[in-house]
Symmetry: none
Subunit: 146 residues, 2 copies
DNA sequence: CTGAATCCTCTATGATACTG
DNA sequence: CAGTATCATAGAGGATTCAG
């Protein structure tokens, strides 16, 4: 965050991404100052982390991933993989067989993500119950107060 | 998925999450019920992680946070703080002064998140350049191909 | 100062159908 | 098998206004 300036006069950013489905129409990186926020927004969607974790175990074929995740649509699987590929985290290899076989795997860079990601995942598992309890508690209180 | 005998003989369908080499055994749940995915969806939005990191440095007042983040709307700041509070990660203390002062801080549970989060943030900072380069490269290739 | 309420836009994601 | 193309929708998130 490079902030500290309280008077950013709304630069004419926002190039109005009217293009519906383009791959990353360059999101006017005025906000890209903080790499942490940037990265979280890039890998912080619903599927990226799971894909990285899956591919961290071993390379996978497209439909293998599709079956393994069970709940992701083809559209999002493809899109997420392409994003990860663009960011240099995932490699896509096409084998010119018939029918074509495509194998996805982590790049070395992607491999380095695996460790901090595991730390987070580990945290999630370890504190799952506490969070559940906190939520239950909060919701109970909220009801009681009305 | 009936009789199509491909070369992949009935894969275990439920790949264990994070089976590579964690310090602790991680229960291989189904992905749908995976606490990892759940937690990521809860804390994986645009602001939660940044707030936790900020509050990890020291307690903050509401407007302090608003100024510090530069880009978040009041609406989302309040909403995100409430979510974190509900999940037991953030504590909200109202001081009955005039005008009222509200202080936000991490709970002990929230404090435990700080470490894995820092690992991720660290990764983001360390590999920022590589990612940028990968993206630039990919975009260049994409243009050249047309 | 710390929000709540309202309205609105854009984005992420899904469903479905089609293709090399 | 490995995608694309198209349509549709819920919800994230912002802007603005009101209030204790």
């Amino acid at each position: 965050m490079s902030g500290t300036h309280t008077d950013v006069p709304a630069p004419p950013t926002v190039p109005s991404v009217l293009a519906h489905d383009l791959p990353r129409p360059v999101p006017a990186d005025e906000f890209a100052a903080c790499p942490v926020g940037e990265t979280f927004r890039r890998v912080g969607d619903r599927w990226s982390m799971l894909l990285v974790i899956l591919l961290g175990q071993r390379p996978h074929r497209y439909n293998e991933l599709h079956r393994a995740i069970e709940g992701i649509s083809q559209r999002m699987l493809t899109r997420t993989l392409r994003n990860l590929e663009t960011d240099g985290l995932v490699r896509r290899e096409v084998h010119p067989t018939v029918p074509p076989g495509v194998e996805y795997s982590l790049t070395p860079l992607g491999g380095t993500l695996l460790e901090p990601l595991s730390a987070l995942a580990d945290w999630a598992v370890r504190h799952e119950v506490e969070i559940e309890e906190a939520r239950a508690h909060a919701l109970r209180d909220r009801r009681a107060q009305r």
